[in-house]
């Protein structure tokens, strides 16, 4: 039996690395005493995985974890135990169950929705113009340093992953507001979807870098507040379908 949870990575723990997030979930399973299956071998590890890795610093409403169990459990009870065993900053939003042969969520995920709030020294009109240009462009290349090889650059077509984006404004709150005001910045809110393909995907932060480079938008990328709001399957006609599609068993 497999259990699948939709969980969060809230603001307060946004800087926990992917590995640390995984460790935390693993320990929560142990605390919840769920009958998690272990791999065979010299260094056995728990059999669970996240549908899609999240960059450090990114907040998420849509982390999907699935785990293999050695014996059946009542999903509602398991979800309750798991929720109790999690630190503040990770909440259980939804769950379902599937049989062992169900397609892995990791393979099923086809796209993710994002909302990015980022201070910008330019005007809103400038941003809107850039967004219009972006939406109209057939292709848009971005070069980024390849993670491991130092001098190599990776060239990606951003439009292959992000078809459209929308922009609005928001109010900057908290201590940051004073600084932003002093700098004469407005907070832009970009909403968009990123495709996840078998060949890979791209990071939300690289969209911001692209907008800076391609259109000269003066975005304070290092202060961007990036949030993943959804993760979904993509139907044959392009519609977004929920990842947890087997909720009947939970009732």
């Amino acid at each position: 039996m497999k259990l699948r949870f939709r969980i969060t990575k809230d603001k307060e723990i946004r800087f926990i690395s992917h590995l640390e997030y995984l460790r935390t979930i693993g320990r929560a399973f142990r605390r919840a005493r769920l009958p998690v299956a272990y791999s065979q071998g010299f260094n056995p590890h728990m059999k669970f995985s996240l549908a899609s890795a999240l960059g450090v610093g990114v907040v998420s409403q849509a982390e999907y974890v699935e785990l293999e169990l050695t014996e059946p459990v009542v999903p509602a009870k398991a979800a309750e135990a798991f929720a109790k065993a999690l630190p503040r900053g990770i909440r259980v939003l939804d769950y379902d169950a599937a049989d062992d042969h169900a397609r892995a969520l990791m393979a099923a995920a086809g796209g993710a929705g994002y909302r990015v709030t980022v201070p910008c020294a330019g005007s809103v009109e400038q941003a809107e113009a850039a967004v219009a240009q972006f939406n109209a462009a057939p292709e848009l290349f971005f070069e980024k340093a390849a993670p491991k090889a130092k001098k190599k650059v990776k060239r990606i077509d951003v439009k292959q992953y992000i078809h459209r984006l929308a922009v609005g404004t928001a109010e900057i709150t908290g201590e940051a507001a004073r600084d932003a005001k002093a700098r004469g910045e407005t907070a832009l809110v970009f909403t968009f979807d990123i495709r996840i393909t078998p060949g890979g995907s791209m990071k939300a932060v690289d969209l911001l870098n692209t907008l800076r480079e391609a259109y000269g938008l003066d975005l304070a990328v290092v202060r961007a507040d990036i949030e993943r709001v959804s993760l979904y399957r993509v139907g044959p006609d392009g519609t977004h379908l929920p990842l947890l599609d087997n909720k009947a068993v939970c009732r």
Binding site: F15, I16, R23, A28, G57, P87, A176
Partner: protein, 677 residues
Amino acid sequence: MKKELTIDMLAAVKRPDRYTGGEFGSIVKKDAEVRMALAFPDVYEVGMSYLGFKILYHLVNKMDGIAAERVYAPWVDMEKLMRERGVVLTTLETKQALSELDAVGFTLQYELSYTNILNMLDLGGVTVRKAERRDDEPLVLVGGPCVFNPEPLADFIDLALIGDGEEALPEVLEALRQWKEEGRPGGRKGFLHRAQQIPGIYVPEFYEPEYNGDGTLARMKVTDPAAPACVEKRVVADLNKVDFPTAPVVPFGEIVHDRIMLEMFRGCSRGCRFCHAGMVYRPVRERRPEVLREVAHRQVDNTGYDEISLVSLSTADYSCLPCFLDTMIADFRSRDVSVSLPSLRIDAFSVDIAKKVQVVRKSGLTFAPEAGSQRMRDIINKGVTEEDLMNAVSGAFENGWSKVKLYFMIGLPGETDEDVLAIARLARKVQWKYKEITGHGGCQVTVSTASFVPKPYTAFQWVPQDTLDEIRRKQRLLIEALRVKNITFQYHDSQTSIMEGVFARGDRRLGKALYLAWKAGESFDGWGDQFRYDRWQQALQEAGVDPDFYNHRLRGETERFPWEHLQPGVSRAFLAREYARAKEQMLTKDCRQGKCNGCGVCQKLGVPVVDYSGHAYDASAEPKFVPAAERTASVRKALRAAAAAAGYDLLAPAVAQVAAATAYKAAGTPAAEGVAE
């Protein structure tokens, strides 16, 4: 006041999880009448590994209306950003600046962390020098092992908690709550007057050192009529009776000791003459196996950790260890939790233990012969022979280990070059032993040497520390002698050892140098890459203090020491006797295996050694146990009578212990032998 660590700051530093908190098991008390910080003067992953604060965090937060929060030293990358942007250091729980709290309590684990204390106060918005601190600023407390000589920090702290904190800290916080509730009568001074009435509390400003013409201490003048001439340490008589954490904070990221730490016992009676912990934590007090087992289960339930480390100063000396280990391993095997020991004693018994606990992974084994030659090992009272070591490594090699790490010290009193080179010879002999047993080479030996630093309240508190040149010369001798295949040689930085030596036996006059060094940019001195010897030299010079006075001078037999008004209970006569025996290379046996050696601790503190030997562990038949208060009271009474009858010296312990044993037998406890020995 800016408190927020913004996204760009967190994105720019190493290990941002050091600063964000929110871990499972962390306790946020929104409303509290009294709020204190347990401040660890090093980075998160080091401080989070410290058992003492796990214990106090748990104990204080169990108190109604009183909150303990955590704060660690930001690493230099984050500190730089915080200073550039004027962001203040806050606690992890409620993100309050240190200046907004009622008290900030630092642990003194290591002399070279003192600059970090000053730095954290400053980053937290607290005035660094006590004389300039406003009355509404938090109280600054210290505790921990180095608190037995807190004098170099006297300019910066309000009070020190001497000894075990489990009972003393709640008492201080309760007094603080009371004082706050009453509207802070008398201001800070008013509280300090109250606090000093709590046993084990030392208020430095009520004492004033007077010095002789040669710079040595003439006397420690008590400037407050109510202050005691001497502050005796607090000691928890029965560790089974104080709460041990069952749900410690579980960090997100990896920390140094990333596992359950189960404290088996406190204290060590082996009597190694260089060892500070071995003297100041006396007497040995064990926890009952059934108590430990219960705590272990609850910790596994509450943390999800898969490893339990059985910690103490010398876990192999736990009286019920073999039985206890079997029980623990059996208990936890099905839950995929392993049991480990932090260190091994040098004997075949320990290798048998290692075999049990290292069922899965076979990493290297670590032994600490401390010195290379028998002569030196006798001087330091290590009580280990070369044969013991050879038996231990033989056992290890026969059981498949091929990696051994050996810990030594150089610069011990009376050491010759022969003794230094004996370290290299011993390492070679370990390799030969491997070849003899396995028929082939390839044994990896790591030799690690620390430089000996004389500490207060040890038999070597009188001796000069080796000079920088001498330490380096000895290190070079070993570098040459250990250019051998498959031997790795590691050694401590000599300059940091020198500064550690200055502060370990320092006095109040060092406060100025400490302040100047911090002002010049010193912090994280324990991290070799941050430590700058030249800045320290400069600071000491500007402060007008001569470091050699503190660490390169043979102290006089009758010289008064600036730490002697703070008492761990071990008598000066005993230490002097041990020093004399060291010069004669005479061994002193562990008092748990033979007669009382007259260190004076049990008598002075009225707390006996607690040892459960001879009682095989059986969880089903819990033995009767006499409440601590009752027991202590009866022992105290017996001791007083004995002391009166026999005069307070060597004879007294023997008489007193017989009396104590009688008291125990009368009470029907099974621990009589353990105490009577």
